[in-house]
Symmetry: C2
Subunit: 264 residues, 2 copies
Amino acid sequence: MKIKTSVLASTLVVAAQWLELSLARNYTFSEEQRQNANRTLSVGYVVFPGYTILDVFGPLQFLSDLSWPFSMNLSVIAKVTGPVHSRPPLHHGPDGMPMDMSAMIDAQIVATHTFETAPPLDVLIVPGGIGDLTLTENNDTAIEEFIAARFDSTKYVLSVCTGAGFLARAGVLDGRRATATKATWARATYFGNNVTWVPSARWVQDGKVWTSSGVSAGMDMMVAFLRHLYGDPEVNNSVNNIEYVPHVDPSWDPFSVVHKATGY
Amino acid sequence: MKIKTSVLASTLVVAAQWLELSLARNYTFSEEQRQNANRTLSVGYVVFPGYTILDVFGPLQFLSDLSWPFSMNLSVIAKVTGPVHSRPPLHHGPDGMPMDMSAMIDAQIVATHTFETAPPLDVLIVPGGIGDLTLTENNDTAIEEFIAARFDSTKYVLSVCTGAGFLARAGVLDGRRATATKATWARATYFGNNVTWVPSARWVQDGKVWTSSGVSAGMDMMVAFLRHLYGDPEVNNSVNNIEYVPHVDPSWDPFSVVHKATGY
């Protein structure tokens, strides 16, 4: 029953995407999309020890693919350049108990810039990860300061999962609607003044700020964001090449039920 | 219509997973699963310049998450240790024309071992990527030689996307069923003797060899593989934390239709 429904619906979704592609000849691009197609987009990812792997590399797959038809450059921005570990550093859990996750397997991404050397950015992306607990314990607010300093000069700011917590602490969600991971909803949404946290959403767009739910939700937000940037035809083509069926409804969120995430 | 069907079906899928979780108390583990839960699994990823980002980091997110409840170590294995670029090197396309993709944005993963220094492996994972064209042009068969040398001593061998081409050229798919990306199906399935290439499959398991379709299909294969290794309860928990709805039917493959992949 479960499998049959999944197969049927997913096939319908892809068929609908296929239909969209065949209609692409008549697609009308917005002025913003035409401009984006004709300039080089400067994209920056903030990373830190204990980042969540798919928060970074899920969206990055789609960006990377679209950097073939459209011009982009990428900066991976951290405290220091060079390899940054995904393995969580030693830290205390939300309950104050020490959590030693040093036995977890590790992936290292290479940071190309520091907060001081990062170039001007059109797009700033902030992933989540349990390493944020270590930064909090150490009163390390370099990421928040970078976000606050760059916010006005950036055209789009995105977060994935607990990355919304960095945006909130930087103050850039004040007066906005936003979402975050449902698995650690209370912790992720603790900060920010006058933020309307949306407890059931795959992602939320409020002006130039896009926030997504947990981990894999970043991919769906990125697909929607790339459609916003460049229009549907090339994005559809890319998504088909990645053999991915995105969730296209921002209000789809069964995980808010699974994790019992609620507003305050 | 498209959105409604997607939401309904995905919600049903998650509800079914939720039901599975609530039944987990009565879950019966196999002898293999009990053994895997009580030993350290040695996992190795082969990487090369021009690897596809999500082929590596999609499955790795799930492995990384499961390395918290279960003991694993990870080797990232390449020709030389240190950063390996995802940006495709200069190469000729399948039609023989030069393809300069040097403007694409780049991510670097850090290789921890070479083919000579890689430790004994329980699990060997081979991603795909357009960089395989450069290796072919340069008659560089180091990956195929590594796979052939390690195959017998490895408990499980997995490939994602065009990674199946490395397995085929190494000879380890001979006499087996396998699949590969549908976006470049003809190229990916050109090699191998007496291989039964399955043109419509999200992934195929044949004994110790698991092969997946293109890019994002590696995540669904990995979820199924982890259930095989460790059973459902911890894997369900992890998938919910990653807020991912896996495709659970290995025969689900709308992209074989999209890309018109067919057998020979």
